[in-house]
């Protein structure tokens, strides 16, 4: 072998490169990891850091220019009744959207993971993913039309004789409005629709990882299906629900387009950020508002961890 290779033509450059990388796996690892780490570290974390820094500056009320000296004054702007109301509204909507998404996604994911055959599963995958293939704005506008006062949904409800209950629901303070399209209910419906795939897929993946033999073992040991669900299936799917809720919760916290197009005129966090960095050109305050979702997510994740949501990982 060695004599044969000695007499043969010298190995090509590519061959020698392969050998170098094969012998030094660490070098290969570095080559593979440096680009994504640069992206994550410098561009992503860097911009996040510069955002954080911005939030500790302030704007001179008179000139409208940013004053580059560290201060906590900007953060004081978060602690007035209006701002706290926005934070409360955004966070509670995000929580409600997450709960509804989980409630809708779980049975769907359960069917996909446990009962659907290969064909049915493919159909369900496409059905869940299909909305993600079309333009986000188009879908939100479509909902705006569906939920409008003269829209399809109101028409259907009217023909079902459900006008009175709808009007009654719409008079509810805080979540009601002139029509579904201009109420918090409408905002929530659209949020649930838009983020649902992000809840279905992780739950489905978690449920798929529960071997059938575990369910059989539980029933073999005397557990009725209800108990098997509560003691085996649910605990093992919690990491999936937690992963999905991270998506739905954080995406709702940060979104500014849906509440802008569908819902009452009362703003969400994202809209405030958009306003302050744009028309109001108060970048420090926009940055301070942008920090809020990060803090809420940090609290959310640590609470989930403490409750054992990731124990079964």
């Amino acid at each position: 072998m060695s004599s044969a290779s000695a007499s043969a033509a010298p190995p090509s450059l590519l061959h020698r490169l392969s050998t170098v990388l094969y012998v030094r796996p660490k070098l290969l690892l570095i080559l593979l990891l440096v680009p994504p780490l640069l992206w994550l570290g410098v561009i992503y974390l860097g911009s996040l850091f510069s955002l954080l820094v911005q939030s500790f500056f302030s704007v001179d009320d008179f000139t409208g220019k940013v004053v580059y000296s560290p201060t906590l004054a900007t953060y004081a702007g978060l602690f007035n009744e209006t701002s706290l109301g926005v934070i409360r509204r955004t966070a509670s909507t995000a929580a409600v959207v997450t709960l509804i998404c989980a409630a809708i996604a779980f049975p769907l994911a359960y069917y996909m993971a446990r009962y659907a055959g290969p064909r049915a599963k493919a159909v369900f995958y496409v059905a869940v993913m299909l909305p993600l293939w079309s333009n986000y704005l188009v879908r939100v506008y479509a909902w705006k039309l569906i939920l409008a006062k003269e829209g399809a949904l109101t028409w259907v409800l009217a023909h079902l004789g459900l006008e009175a209950p709808l009007d009654w629901v719409l008079t509810t303070p805080n979540i009601g409005g002139a029509s579904l399209g201009t109420s918090m209910i409408g905002t929530t419906v659209v949020f649930v629709y838009i983020w649902l795939p992000y809840m279905v897929l992780p739950i489905q993946a978690a449920l798929e990882r529960v071997p059938r033999s575990l369910i059989e073992a539980s029933s073999d040991l005397g557990a009725h299906p209800r108990e098997t669900f509560r003691r085996v299936i649910l605990p093992l799917s919690i990491p999936g629900v937690a992963a999905g809720s991270i998506f739905t919760f954080s995406l709702t916290l940060g979104d500014y387009i849906i509440p802008n197009l569908v819902g009452s005129s009362r703003p969400f966090l994202g809209q405030l950020v958009y306003q302050y960095q744009g028309t109001a050109s108060n970048l420090p305050l926009a940055a301070a508002f942008a920090v809020v979702p990060i803090v809420i997510m940090a609290i959310y994740l640590s609470a989930a961890k403490r409750l054992g949501a990731f124990d079964a990982l």
Binding site: L214, E216, S218, D220, L221, G222, R231, L236, A312
Partner: protein
């Protein structure tokens, strides 16, 4: 313990068909109380389906399964007095070892103190005292297997089902567990129904063995009976080495072309020049390969006139050590020739 008369599990003309596939096809048998009963067969022979029919994970498409005289058709697993040790152990990964073992007791609302005490006791029996606080992922394969056994036995079922429980263990551990399983079965006196494709396992542990093939039972007998007097060529081949003789040679030995067989250790191997004893059956051949196995050596002998036989010789300090290509004479006592029902 077993009184030998009462029947733990009985199959009456049981079938389990999946469309055109007959996983189990018109099978009838009785398993006695306190028996160590093995279901042996190649994969897809229907043995595991039979086990799942007893556990209640499958329902028969024909016939009836009875446990202690009660027809269990339509009764779900959670209402049956049997427990299963799964092939992949099926331990709950989010529970500790103690919680796993106590699961069945918790479901049956046994008070916590008693539950823990019984679970600890059972862990002691499978030599895992002190492991109760660990998670299954922190255990070795052999330890998980013991936990699965303890989790099933703690419920004191009338029948314990074991689905290839030693399949994932290495040889040494498997042999050790065979001895332990047998000892545990004697101690608790519960009927063990053991599914395996390993003939050695089935022979070494069981009181009786049912050999499955194509959804049917080929033969049901004690291990010795099964080995010494297999009823069919399939059983002879699946339990032990087949050593099938057919064609002209079979005709010379028995007067008919029906295939016959002889166990490798029953065959004497001698130099060609030595005369065979008068009451033996003799064939000549050449050594075609030699497999040295330590305690014994396996010779493959190509027979004169076609076919070959395996001969197993113990490695005593003998005068005759044939080498490859040697002309040899094989002989065996006529009573060791096994004939099969056609």
């Amino acid at each position: 313990m077993a009184n030998g008369e009462s029947i733990a599990v009985s199959f009456r003309n049981v079938s389990r068909h999946y469309g055109a596939v007959k996983a189990v096809d018109d099978v009838s048998f009785d398993i006695k109380d306190g028996e160590f009963f093995a279901m042996l067969g190649p994969s897809g022979s229907g043995k595991t389906t039979c086990l799942r029919l007893i556990a209640g994970f499958e329902q028969p498409t024909g016939g009836a399964v009875a446990i202690h005289g009660q027809d269990v058709t339509g009764i779900p697993p959670y209402d049956r007095d049997v427990n299963t040790v799964f092939q992949d152990y099926a331990l709950f990964p989010h529970m500790t070892v103690l919680e796993n073992v106590g699961y069945g007791l918790m479901i049956r609302k046994v008070p916590k103190a008693e539950r823990q005490q019984r679970a600890e006791e059972m862990l002691g029996m499978v030599a895992l005292s002190g492991f109760g606080g660990r998670k299954p992922s922190q255990l070795s394969g052999g330890q998980r297997q013991r936990v699965a056994l303890a989790r099933a036995l703690v419920n004191r079922p009338s029948v314990l089902l074991l689905d290839e429980p030693l399949g994932a263990l290495d040889l040494k551990l498997r042999e050790q567990m065979q001895v332990e399983l047998k000892a545990i079965q004697r101690r608790v006196g519960i009927t063990f129904i053991y599914v395996t494709h390993d003939q050695g396992e089935a022979l070494s542990m069981s009181d009786r063995v049912a050999v499955f093939n194509h959804g049917r039972i080929e033969q049901m007998a004690s291990p010795a009976e099964l080995y010494e007097r297999p009823k069919t060529a399939f059983v002879a081949g699946f339990v032990g080495i087949s050593n099938l003789i057919d064609g002209a040679l079979a005709e010379r030995l028995t007067g008919s072309a029906q295939p016959v067989s002889v166990r490798p250790e029953k065959i004497h191997l001698e130099p060609a020049r030595v005369a065979a004893p008068a009451d033996g059956q003799t064939v000549s051949g050449t050594i075609s390969s030699i497999l040295y196995l330590g305690a014994n050596t396996r010779y493959l002998v190509a027979l004169e006139g076609g076919g070959e036989l395996t001969v197993l010789l113990q490695n005593r300090d003998t005068h005759f050590e044939p080498t490859q290509g040697d002309a040899v004479r094989l002989w065996w006592e006529a009573r060791h020739l096994m004939r099969f029902a056609s």
